[in-house]
Amino acid sequence: MYLEKRYNDFRAKVRDFAEREIAPHAARIDKNCEYPRELLQRMGKEGYLGMVVPKEYGGSGFEFLEYIMTVEEFSRVCGSTGITVAAHNGLGCAPIARFGNEAQKKKYLPDVASGKKIASFGLTEPQAGSDSGNTQTFAVKADGGWKITGTKCWITNASLGEIFNLTARTDPNSKGPKGISAFIIERGWKGFSSGKKENKMGLRGSDTAFLHLDDVFCPQENLLGPEGDGFKQFMMTLDTGRIAIGGMALGLAQGALDVAARYAKERHAFGAPISSYQAIQWKLADMATQIEASRHLVYHAARMRDMGLPLVKEASMAKLFASEASNFVTYEAIQILGGSGYSGRFPVERMYRDMKLCEIGEGTSEIQRIVISREVLKGTEKLFGGIVTEKLS
């Protein structure tokens, strides 16, 4: 896809870092089910942990598109790195930078942006996944703040993280999305704990676990944004988070295509490289086309974020399309590699397992379709100057 030179230069720099610093460790990160802290420190030094934090708070102040390109490039070599970095930047740092007051920004952003502290967020609960407005975590007014009790699940960076933005119901009489507020919670507060790591299909190096809050006292100053705005803020965060999952899906797909194309040129069958057969050529063509289309959707949504435009539909479309495309591409990459694709000898086996999360996390594909269809159904009244509406009434 056409991009201004500065973006291509930017990508080259990130790719160099990813291939040098991350790629050699990707298989081990997956196998050990552990994200190495020293790698996070190295990323912190390069500014990759404060990408969406303004420079004045110690961040790198990247454009949103640059942030997404970074998630893409990291995911191209290691999905676990992609999700770890996306959760920290997009879900951990971004809500504080976007909705926090001056005091909160000064207190938290420099530490998270430098990577001194890893951050994340908590929305999903065991009984509130796709239906996340059904939050059963409650915050009760206490002297000088709130007492919060509840359980959050599928929390990325749950054990590594020290700062968590999470939602709780502050109006006990409310149901659904209203009456939910957001809080900045620190590990180490009494009653806060994280559970044992989930045993996942893929992204095994990324740290996913429960968060338990048992009557955790949270001072009033850590309420994020106005009371009752939590759900709205988190939905806005998810809109941008979804673009990052799109970037991740895109990176995994690109990585799989790169491996498969290289393999197809090297691998011989019936006396010729398999890349000389049409069955393989068409697979590669379809894979590349799906990737290109994904990149357009994902980058377009990212640019809209940079312009401050409403992007609910575009973010959902980018995530939906890119994750399904990534499923197709990683699947075909395995097919091109045959038995080698199913074994741990080549990275496509890992990429396929990693990819599957993209269709689930931060809103399943089913949820994206609900979001998109809702947007499509809005504002059809004036269709064809009202002629169709007239016929229908």
Binding site: D131, Q335, G339, Y342, S343, G344, E349, L357
Partner: protein, 381 residues
């Protein structure tokens, strides 16, 4: 067309289902994690005759018709797909090799012990540089007195770590290319023969897959299977029932995933009601069920054709490619219905998704099946 199973077929399906659900399903997750299939379960299956399903009774086998056999494999796969492939390779590829092409002496020597599961069989065609293009294999066997001296490396050998007997395809006349391939029965202890480490795979993790190595290995002349130069024909003819077996495996995995998804969709509530109440879920279930049924028809038909001897390779390939693509589609949807839970090992669909993936790869990739199918169509046209 008769859609009824006969008495023996029903009996085999029901008894396999009962055994598999009782003895295999419960442990599937544990064995996936430990990447080991306990010897005791192999012994138990041997006792019940699962290692001699297709073998004639005179050699101690159950003498099943192909459809009964396929029904049993489907039920076993539904409980544990890794166990299924262990049995499928032994029965379809190793035992059948000797039944169909062995001399009376070879049959007497190996089959009774294979039927009892004392001797487990493996089949070895692929090589690191020859997969779909099996005719391009490089392993050689040169006659020296009463012995073949074998050299080369073969890979993706299912059961390699368990097997006592390997049906291996090697070039006895490299100068003749595909026509110079022969089948050899290689015993585990043969001098110069070695078995590698268990592969790390995405799924079927408790099944055994390894490379095998021949380094001036010595195999008696008497262990030539069939005629010299007949190897590739033997290899492909065995793959017929083998591929129907992979189709049955795919079918079993898909059925298991469908059942889990159906159960979950009734239990899981969102927006105040079970997700099975939502049309998006309902249509997914409808599509899953329809595709499973279509695959079942293709797989059973291919099995019946194997029995009547009238099987065409294209029928078998169609069953295999459709069932395996279907299984990947169905397990993908089953994971989607489970959401985050589908991505973790506490839920069986996570494993089904990984296990299903290989059905499009081994015993001929989908691409290899399409070569077979398209060739057959173009020949007729």
């Amino acid at each position: 067309m008769d859609f009824e199973l006969n008495e023996q077929q029903q009996l085999m399906r029901d008894s396999a289902r009962e055994f598999a659900q009782k003895r295999l399903a419960f442990f599937a997750r544990e064995w996936d994690e430990t990447e080991e299939m306990p010897k005791s379960v192999l012994a138990e299956m041997a006792e019940l005759g699962y290692f001699g399903m297709l073998l004639p009774e005179q050699y101690g086998g159950l003498g099943l018709d192909p459809l009964s056999y396929i029904l049993a494999l489907e039920e076993i796969s539904k409980a544990n797909a890794a166990v299924e492939i262990t049995l499928s390779v032994h029965n379809s590829l190793a035992c059948q090799a000797i039944v169909k092409y062995g001399t009376e002496e070879q049959k007497k020597k190996y089959l009774p012990r294979m039927a009892k599961g004392e001797l487990i069989g493996a089949y070895s065609l692929s090589e690191p540089d020859a997969g779909t293009d099996a005719g391009g294999l490089k392993a050689t066997a040169v006659k020296k007195g009463n012995t073949f001296i074998v050299n080369g490396t073969k890979n993706w050998v299912t059961n390699a770590g368990l097997a006592g007997i390997f049906v291996c395809f090697v070039k006895t006349r490299p100068d003749l290319g595909r026509e110079g391939i022969s089948a050899l029965l290689v015993e585990k202890g043969a001098k110069g023969f070695a078995v590698g480490e268990n592969e790390e795979k995405m799924g079927l993790k408790c099944s055994d897959t390894r490379e095998i190595y021949f380094s001036d290995a010595e195999v008696p002349i008497g262990n030539l299977l069939g005629q010299e130069g007949q190897g590739l024909k033997i290899a492909f003819s065995l793959l017929n029932i083998g591929r129907v077996g992979v189709g049955a495996q795919a079918l079993g995995i898909a059925e298991a995933a469908f059942e889990e998804a159906l159960k979950y969709s009734k239990q899981r509530t969102a927006f105040g009601q079970p997700i099975a109440n939502f049309q998006a879920t309902q249509f997914k279930l409808a599509d899953m069920s329809t595709k499973i049924e279509a695959a079942r028809m293709l797989v059973y038909k291919a099995a019946l054709l194997c029995e009547n001897g009238g099987n065409s390779a294209a029928d078998v390939s169609m069953a295999k490619v459709y069932a395996s693509e279907m299984a990947n589609w169905v397990t993908n949807e089953a994971v989607q219905i489970h959401g985050g839970y589908g991505y973790v090992k506490e839920y069986a669909v996570e494993r089904y998704f990984r296990d299903a993936r290989v059905t499009e790869i081994y015993e001929g990739t989908s691409e290899a099946q399409k070569i077979v199918i398209s060739r057959s169509i173009l020949k007729k046209g």
